[in-house]
Symmetry: C2
């Protein structure tokens, strides 16, 4: 096996939780490419592949090393053009950046606040120290303070996904009749929540939750294999 997805975990290797790594796991499955996943703690990432990248995902594909989830998806699309497409053409490639931006700017911060203490508690002691410090540096607040804002985020979460909900009125996946990388981008954010803090706060009859469940079922339940927190 020459294909390795380096990803992120806490003390329990069987519960990888990085949103960006989940995007790549589904992208690889979408292309029908076998891979082994090797999850590392935060503070061990710098040692992967001789310090190739400060962040995961990292993909080793034979002789090639690629970092960054979007770059990896672009790489897979180019390297495996005969496998099912991740973008559905050049327009899909460009517009997937907008989905990524929506996910990063609108979905990631609420998930961070809802999940941050849960993530902390999943880490070993070395990672806990790193996590506290790096999040304070990035977000300007102690993780307890961010977590305290999580309750309000739970109440507002469904409304943030209105553009997704309206899109799903027209089609079963963001990518149309079947999923594209754009779906995996948003899936990654909700799966990050699900694995660390439990199911996203959406009602059972919400079409966004139904879409998420469909994504969990893809590729023999690749996402569902990790039980919800």
């Amino acid at each position: 096996m020459t294909r390795v997805l380096y990803s992120l975990c806490g003390k329990d290797e069987s519960r990888p939780f990085s949103p960006h790594c989940w995007k790549v796991a589904l992208a690889l499955a979408h292309k029908g490419l076998e891979f082994v996943e090797r999850p590392y703690p935060f503070t061990a990432i710098a040692n992967i592949e001789d310090g190739f990248s400060k962040t995961v995902p990292i993909l080793r594909d034979g002789d090639r090393l690629v970092r960054d989830s979007f770059e990896i998806a672009l790489y897979l699309e180019e390297a495996y053009p005969d496998r099912p497409t991740l973008f559905g053409g050049e327009g899909g490639k460009a517009l997937s950046r907008f989905i990524e931006s929506f996910s990063q700017m609108i979905v990631h911060m609420p998930v961070t606040k809802m999940a941050i203490m849960h993530i902390h508690d999943m880490l070993d002691e070395t990672d806990q120290v790193y996590f506290r410090e790096s999040r304070f540096e990035r977000l300007g607040k102690p993780i307890e303070e961010l977590a305290a804002e999580g309750e309000a985020e739970r109440a507002a979460f469904a409304s943030r996904l209105e553009p997704v909900r309206r899109t799903l009125h027209f089609q079963p996946f963001l990518g149309g009749d079947s999923p594209l990388f754009a779906d995996y981008i948003l899936f990654g954010a909700l799966q990050w929540m699900r694995v660390t803090a439990g199911p996203p706060p959406l009602s059972q009859d919400d079409t966004v939750l139904q879409w998420f469940e469909r994504c969990l079922d893809l590729y023999d339940g690749l996402g569902r294999r990790v039980v919800a927190a």
Copy 2:
């Protein structure tokens, strides 16, 4: 000339303002298709082409009549496959629905509040009565009350466009190196604001405003030909 875009205006026919009609105007120009635009007041739409549609845009293309901006773009893509693509493939088609949903759910309401009194004042008396009643029915508030919320919307407007801003960090248009229908969707919302209430409240160094200016320049300044209010 057998190609007609039926659109929307107030008392001044030279200032069509419907966001959805602007999308189609740019889509036609993108395809290099000549057309004449025939703007009608709200209360005259029901008479266009023997009552073909309750809303504009309506496109007459020879024998064909098509309604709804997205449907018209899909029609043009199918009818004129040898002209420049509006979607860049099937993925772009599907993901353009997400851009449309973002524009409708995140951008249209603030523009409505910022522009509603200006739109009212552009209309003739018959349309003013219709506009007041239909907006009350749709939005549950008198237009004066909606307009009063406009100031707060001005202050928050730039932040609503964060996902657009981040996308433009990677590429000059939502569609990539050159514009696609996705760009015209968002352009339509900002042009609606510009023609009725003046330039969107974005700072000069905002990449979103710079993108909007690039869109105004497209096709010999098709959008710029109507001066800002």
